[in-house]
């Protein structure tokens, strides 16, 4: 149910009449405690990760030979790793990489997912059936397996990782978009528009896109968290982002060495904490957005 249907306006309480659907959605979002907590975690993380070169004295790959495997000290707040690189600097740079990969891959899978879903919905039964079988398959197989297979073909690095994660993530969205558009296709204004000779482009961008906006927003948040986890998992298994480039996943991979795991928890635990905190925060925001965009929330 999209936020701008007439039904939503009719079902809303009289108190909120006169405000636009978007205003009502924002109002609902900011009354949600968990979502606000999520924002309070995510915004500082984003700021720290984006601005760290201006306020932190070490670069992620600069080596301090006087401090190898050091624990937390006044100079190195989170200590250093085995070759004397500052853990906090790597943590912040790793966050940068994770968030960069997540945002680009979300953008790509939004595009593919929307287009494929729309084409399946508007493109006739044979095309729809074929596309949906492969979507089913992609959603049945364990994502980690597909991720590993694709990564083994593309190799490691930022671009291949973005490619692999985007390629894996669009099927969920295309299924949701398809369901929404199958319903939309039969609505009078779309039938009328087709009757007047509207082309696929007009249908997709004037009718389909505005009416799937809520799905896209919620998907983007959830997928952002997912993409961070997929990147971390891939890097943890030795694909994805490999050293010397920093990433939360490959900092955790360091703990597969018994020495690091046992003796230097300061080298891997912060990466784990950052990963969980960020993902939790994004999920809280995502839940908040989902409730905010659902016009039935006010009735509960």
């Amino acid at each position: 149910m999209s936020a701008d249907t007439p039904m939503a306006a009719g079902a809303a309480t009289s108190r909120s009449r006169g405000r636009s659907p978007l205003q009502r959605a924002l109002g609902r979002f900011f009354r949600n405690g968990a979502a606000i907590a999520g924002l309070l975690i995510l915004v500082p993380v984003l700021l720290a990760v984006l601005t760290y070169p201006f306020w932190w004295r070490y670069a992620p790959n600069s080596i301090d030979l006087r401090a190898l495997n050091s624990g937390p000290t006044a100079a190195h707040w989170l200590g250093t790793d085995g070759v004397g690189r500052d853990t906090l600097a790597r943590l912040l740079q790793g966050g940068r990489i994770s968030l960069l990969i997540a945002s680009v891959s979300v953008a790509i899978s939004l595009l593919i997912g929307f287009l494929v879903g729309a084409i399946a919905a508007f493109g006739g039964r044979v095309l729809d059936g074929t596309i949906m079988r492969f979507v089913d398959l992609a959603m049945t197989l364990p994502p980690v397996i597909l991720l590993l297979v694709l990564a083994s073909i593309t190799g490691t690095g930022i671009l291949p990782t973005i490619f692999v994660i985007s390629l894996l993530s669009w099927p969920v969205l295309s299924r949701m978009v398809r369901a929404r558009l199958l319903e939309l296709r039969e609505r009078d204004f779309v039938v009328a528009s087709r009757g007047f000779g509207a082309g696929l482009g007009h249908l997709l961008f004037r009718h389909a896109l505005p009416n799937s906006l809520d799905i896209l927003v919620v998907y983007a948040t959830v997928q952002f968290a997912n993409a961070i986890l997929l990147e971390a998992g891939l890097s943890f298994l030795g694909m994805g982002i490999v050293p010397p480039e920093a990433s939360w996943g490959n900092m955790l991979r360091a703990a597969r060495s018994t020495v690091v795991l046992e003796l230097h928890p300061s080298q891997w635990m912060p990466a784990g904490a950052a990963l969980v905190a960020t993902v939790l925060a994004i999920n809280f925001i995502g839940d908040g957005l989902r409730d905010a965009f659902d016009p039935r929330t006010d009735l509960k």
Partner: protein, 319 residues
Amino acid sequence: MLGFYLKRLAAGLMMLIALSIMVFVLLRLAPGDPIDAYLNPLAPLSQVEMDALRQRLGLDQPWPVQYLAWLRAALGGDLGYSIDRAGVRVLPLLVERTGPTLLLMLTGLAMAIVLGIAAGVVGAVKRNSAIDVGLGVLAFLVISTPAFLKALLGLYVFAVVLRWAPSGGMLTPGAPFSLTDLLAHLTLPASLLALVYSALFMRYMRSSMIEVLNQDYLRTARAKGVGEFAVIVRHALRNAILPVITLIGSTIGIAIGGAIFIESVFDWPGMGLLMVKAVETRDYPVIMGATLLIGVGVILVNLLTDLAYAVVDPRIQVS
């Protein structure tokens, strides 16, 4: 009813065909000459023999023909040779790794069913109590923590700090086989695998149980004077447990994903570890063979749970 079975079977078959096409295309996209996979590195072939093999495998034919030839070979159990391990065929390698993975996953699953269902029932019966809220928060944390982080933390706490469990492997190397040794190695990774699953089971069981607890037939049972314990276990649980069965099928993918990370952290000699190693060495025949086998397994489990659900709950044919 028969119609439902046939429809499910047809859908499962379509998925298997889609899977085989996907694996075939990925194999062709992988770098290198596809014939490499079928060469035994220990027995080099002459150019003439190579051409004959190429012809037999259909590699000189267009892609659709190649696909059928590859499919025929795969169905006959010929997945080629491992590139990394000289002279080892892919299929026996996969079969050898299936046992440990199944052992790990089934143990984890059994633990999760018991734990998750018990916790879900307690949560539903004592709704909104401290226990219920505590279990809910715990489940949320467990689900939100990625599998590899759980595995690392579990290894750190139980193997390094507390020294309760060995730090990896399936058996102590060099020691004669004993069941206690196997169990000592199995307990920690299986419990970690069970964690996610039991959290999912718990959530599902709790909401399904709450729904059943509001039904009229439970009030009738209580009115007849049936004891509270019997009401919950004999009347409510039996009905509430039905939807949880499908969860086993639909989350098998999550379990396999988790198993890959856990096997890789604990050096458990299963399919996941094999796959990770194969990816590291770009051993494509092994990667694709493992993907094919895991994919077939997942599709079959999904199919079986669908069919089993229809048997347990006759109402399914209506929808």
